[in-house]
């Protein structure tokens, strides 16, 4: 249950990151229109979403561990990018993703036992 919730939260956060990045890229109201930074966070969001789906397919083993590490790096990187882009939404989304990642990690360990 926790595992599913964790993966779901990560996927949701990734979708939010993609949405925010897309909006930032096209809107003239954000100061980020057509910038490489939001392209980067958008791609990071897509990768995070893919990794979250990967965890749904394979919850245990080396691949799952690798995906969890990659998701953590993605969360940290996107949060840092969000900080320098001065995008509060991105940072909040990554905080949510981190929560999901923590849940997924706990659940993964539990299932491992």
């Amino acid at each position: 249950m926790k595992l599913r919730l964790g993966r779901g939260i990560i996927a949701l956060a990734a979708v939010i990151a993609i949405g925010v990045s897309t909006y930032d890229y096209f809107s003239t109201a954000t100061g980020l229109q057509r910038t490489g930074g939001v392209v980067l966070t958008g791609i990071a969001g897509v990768l995070m979403l893919a990794a979250a789906f990967g965890l749904m397919v394979r919850a245990r083993g080396a691949l799952a561990t690798t995906l969890r590490v990659l998701i953590l790096l993605d969360i940290i990187g996107t949060a840092v990018a969000g900080y320098f882009l001065e995008s509060g939404c991105l940072m909040v989304a990554m905080l949510v993703a981190l929560l999901g990642w923590g849940l997924s990690l706990c659940a993964g360990r539990g299932e491992g036992k």
Binding site: D24, T28, G31, Q33, R34, T35, G36, G37, F84, L85
Partner: protein
């Protein structure tokens, strides 16, 4: 009471504008706010206490945004109870001051092929006693390539009696050493009933080029009254330019107009122009009715750095030692603030002649001394900033290696074949916006960039080979006719990060009564790929501040697309707001129907960052 206070301040403190006041509403009728380029508003409604509540009152798009390379440095004008602004695609907008609703749009018929899509706005003149019902008693002027358009401010129709059906062909006077057509990017300066017209050119392409003409024409008809040229006749076969491409200021009391005269061609190699030319790279005062020189002060001797005098002198009366000195402050690319008596050119604060290094390029003789202004303290330090450890580290030492290859003797290091450090370089220092002054306290505020450039002279044969290999655009500036071409670069690492330690831009405040620096703060934020750098780094700036009697500074100018309000006393940022592109222009401040507005042309400038827009946006306190 507040209105009365504003009107009284306008009448007592600010220099007269071309149009005077309109009821209780002081006008903002020229590039520098008023004739003296003070950029000061007597408005007091917006204060440090309530500026945090400032909201967008209206915002419009002029339609110029479809072009990605526009360069919009226009100061919006508020006069005739209307806001006027000229745009980079050669249109003139008249809008309601409180709603932004368009009254009329004038489109220049002679726009022709796209030029640089560049505009620094329009200027305004009105007859001393406008006759009701008669056309063109109030006229707006703006440049289109080498022509000047005159438009009736009431109706938006061309003034038929000006030039040829409202278009004055200024290019017709570009007859000596014409190697390119002139461009009237900067609107003319209105000096009584005379329009004083300078031009923009390209002084790095040819050794001999169009000389520094300035024309005085009749404001009603466009008829030529006088011509000024900064270059001695016997030097016309060796050089050119030394033109006036920036705005000018005017003192109605003395009738003097102050010209920021730029550097001669070719910019960076002067072996053929060693003879003294006292009017080039100077501030020169002319009698506006005759064009005769009243006085002139050279600010760089034998300029081989492109250190154009690039902004209008700010006129202010300084109360000092029990006397009132009619003064001007001429800010420069070097970051110097020349404070001079505007009637005589005599320095108010001492100007030193300091020794600087010799050139090592054959034929070139750099001036052994240059004017140096210790007070007020320069906006730019004398030594090149240290290499940034971060920039050096992430580029594996490329910054240090590059610096070691270059010649760096501090200020006025002559250009060289091996490459020289230029700090401040051709972008300044202080750019074409210049500073603002509060005439009540004689507080002067100015933004300044701290940018390290490299200047490299390229022997002609080597340049020709480069052109064949890489094309003209990459090879550098030709300086055709001289033995050296030239290349200018920013000192950046391989990732595009500046190699020098921040700040990259500052805002400074001075007390002109004593010459003392009151405060200096990093200003603005660099934004690269969308990422904002720390505020302590500041940003290079293009555009200028304005001061209000309410105790605030309003300024765009930075690389990030934000406009800011700053406490005049402390330099603290009290309010900032995102606009659609950097507001690389000078804002206008006005009061209309009892409400104070601050309006910015947020158009961007590709020199700073690629983002451009066509947004004209006004801010006011909510009802």
């Amino acid at each position: 009471m507040r209105k009365l206070h504003s009107a009284a301040l306008a009448a007592l403190l600010a220099l007269p504008s071309a149009a005077g006041a309109q009821g209780d509403n002081p006008v903002w009728d020229s590039f520098g706010g008023n004739a003296g380029a003070q950029k000061f508003s007597p408005a007091t409604q917006i204060t440090p206490q309530n500026v945090g509540k400032l909201k967008v009152a209206w915002s419009i798009h002029t339609g110029d945004g479809i072009h990605t390379r526009t360069n919009w440095g226009a100061t919006p004008l508020f006069v005739n109870n209307t806001v006027y602004v000229a745009t980079p695609t050669y249109r003139l907008y008249a809008v309601e001051p409180d709603t932004g609703k368009t009254k009329w749009v004038f489109t220049a018929k002679n726009a022709g092929a796209p030029g640089g899509y560049k505009s620094r706005g329009a200027s305004y003149w009105q007859a001393a006693n406008p006759q009701p019902g008669q056309p063109c008693q109030k006229i707006l002027y703006f440049g289109v390539h080498g022509t000047l358009n005159a438009v009736d401010a009431d109706t938006g129709k061309a003034c038929e009696g000006f030039g040829n059906h409202g278009v004055l062909n200024v290019e017709q006077w570009n007859t000596v050493n014409r190697v390119w057509p002139i461009s009237l990017t900067q609107p003319p300066t209105v000096a009584g009933d005379t329009l004083v017209i300078g031009y923009s050119g390209v002084d790095w392409q040819y050794k001999v080029a169009t000389p520094g003409w300035v024309w005085g024409v009749d404001a009603r008809t466009g008829k030529l009254k006088w011509t000024f040229n900064s270059i001695p006749k016997d030097m016309l076969n060796q050089t050119g330019t030394a033109n006036v491409w920036a705005s000018m200021s005017y003192d109605p009391k003395s009738g003097l107009v102050y010209l920021p005269v730029s550097s001669p061609s070719p910019n960076y190699y002067g072996a053929a122009r060693l003879k003294e030319m006292p009017l080039v790279t100077s501030v020169t005062a002319l009698h506006a009715d005759t064009g005769a020189v009243a006085w002139s002060r050279q600010l760089v001797h034998h300029d081989i750095w492109d250190l154009d005098t690039n902004s209008a002198a700010t006129l202010v009366d300084i109360h000092k030692g029990g006397h009132v000195i009619p003064a001007l402050v001429q800010a420069t690319k070097q970051g110097f603030l020349f404070v001079l008596n505007r009637l005589t050119g005599a320095p108010v604060y001492p100007i030193e002649e300091r020794h600087y290094p010799a050139s090592d390029v054959p034929g070139e003789k750099a001036s052994p001394t240059q004017p140096y202004v210790p007070v007020p303290a320069p906006t730019v330090p004398d030594r090149t900033p240290a290499i940034s450890p971060l920039a050096d580290l992430i580029s594996f030492g490329s910054c240090s290696k590059r610096l070691a290859e270059l010649r760096d003797d501090g200020r006025f290091t002559p250009p060289s074949v091996r490459g020289s450090v230029a700090f401040p370089g051709t972008v300044g220092g202080v750019e074409w916006g210049g500073g603002a002054v509060d005439p009540r306290s004689q507080t002067y505020v100015v933004n300044s960039s701290l940018v390290v450039e490299t200047y490299t002279l390229i022997p002609r044969a080597e340049y020709n080979a480069l052109v064949k290999k890489e094309g003209k655009a990459k090879a550098g500036s030709a300086q055709a006719g001289s033995p050296y071409a030239f290349k200018i670069d920013y000192l950046l690492n391989k990732w595009g990060m500046p190699c020098w330690t921040p700040p990259y831009g500052t805002l400074s405040s001075y007390d002109l009564k004593t010459g003392k620096l009151l405060w200096r703060k990093p200003f603005g934020q660099v934004q690269k790929w969308g990422f904002y750098m720390p505020e302590s780094w500041g940003s290079p700036t293009i555009g200028a501040p304005v001061i209000t009697a309410g105790g605030l500074i309003f300024i765009g100018a930075s690389m990030d697309s934000r406009v800011r309000a700053i406490d005049l006393k402390t330099g603290k940022v009290l309010w900032k707001h995102l606009v659609e592109a950097p507001a690389n222009s000078t804002p206008a401040v006005y009061t209309y129907k009892g409400k104070q507005y601050v309006v910015f042309a947020a158009g961007g400038n590709p020199i700073l960052t690629p983002r451009t827009s066509d947004q004209l946006v006004a801010f006011a306190l909510p009802d």
